[in-house]
Symmetry: C2
Subunit: 189 residues, 2 copies
């Protein structure tokens, strides 16, 4: 019933839809591309939108003894070290749950009996189509990590209450990681 | 003590830092720009990184009677309708809390007695420097909305438990909104 209300609010509404009249390819990289769109609004006026196109990613929330499994790494885009749940980029058409399980094992050596959808994170829907599918891992057992060549990863387990404090203090910013920690803290997994 | 451990893990570590040797400006738009970086890793090898540069944004988590205030809008990047907390883009150098309070009032007519930092959301730190600062609004009173010209906004209030279900069902994907809902559900505000 409640979900029906939300579904209805999310149904395409002609007053809001921006019709794409023309797509201009602006830049094409290895991991994302840039397009500009000529759009027509319902009042007949025209607009212009800048969009990043990316295949998206998948991440895994793995928790044991009220601690969450994180990978320590450097993020050159942010110019800082970061603690994030294990995650990776999707290949085009790849099943996100397969990608998530693979990244978990490669980066941490953890094998999950099952992984189930927890949430989706669209980080900047105003201009970026990138989505990260977040999964929750059940039935963890420890194998050995097999990082990609040149990939330097440190695995750490941090108590959920400490992560909540770190989020409030602005130390943890990665959206998929913030969402995972808060979902566990809220008891919805 | 616990935060000290996390701070230490986030201290720059020479083994991980990627030194930017050269920045190439690839594309320059109105709301973001694209750079590629030549980076040097600690083992002496070289890499290449594609980065989106954006000034970031600010959003407001406004809750009354266990319902969260959301704006209904169309997101052409995702090709779908979206329900998101009130938010807007930062101007360069703008105070995020000022931006957040302004967007709240413009989009919803709500005035907050105070807004305090709740979390930061970096949606795709692997290639995008965009961060949204999320604030929690206290002492809400209702004025009248003043949307920007051409901005069509619908304000809706949705119960937090319904939003949690919608997140688990993948209906709500916007990272700043997922984070706000889960923070309220976890009782950390």
């Amino acid at each position: 019933m409640a979900l029906d209300t939300i579904r209805q609010l999310l149904t395409l509404d002609d007053r809001y839809v921006e019709k794409v009249e023309q797509i201009h390819s602006e830049w094409d990289g290895r991991i994302f591309a840039v397009e500009t769109l000529d759009v027509r609004l319902s009042d007949g006026s025209y607009g212009w939108r800048e969009i990043v196109r990316h295949h998206g990613g998948a991440g895994v929330c793995a928790v044991r003894d009220d601690k969450i499994c994180l990978v320590r790494q450097y993020r050159v885009a942010l110019g800082r070290m970061s603690l994030e749940i294990p995650a990776g980029k999707l290949d085009p058409g790849e099943d996100p749950s397969v990608c998530a399980a693979r990244e978990l094992e490669e980066e941490t050596g953890l094998v999950a009996q099952s992984i189930e959808p927890l949430a989706v994170s669209a980080g900047a829907p105003g201009f970026n189509d990138e989505k990260t599918r977040i999964f929750y891992a059940r039935g963890l057992s420890q194998g050995s990590a097999r990082p990609d060549e040149g990939e330097l990863v440190d695995v750490v387990w941090i108590p959920i209450p400490d992560m909540v404090e770190a989020i409030k203090a602005g130390l943890i910013e990665d959206a998929k990681t913030v969402i995972s920690v808060l979902a566990v803290a809220a008891g919805i997994v």
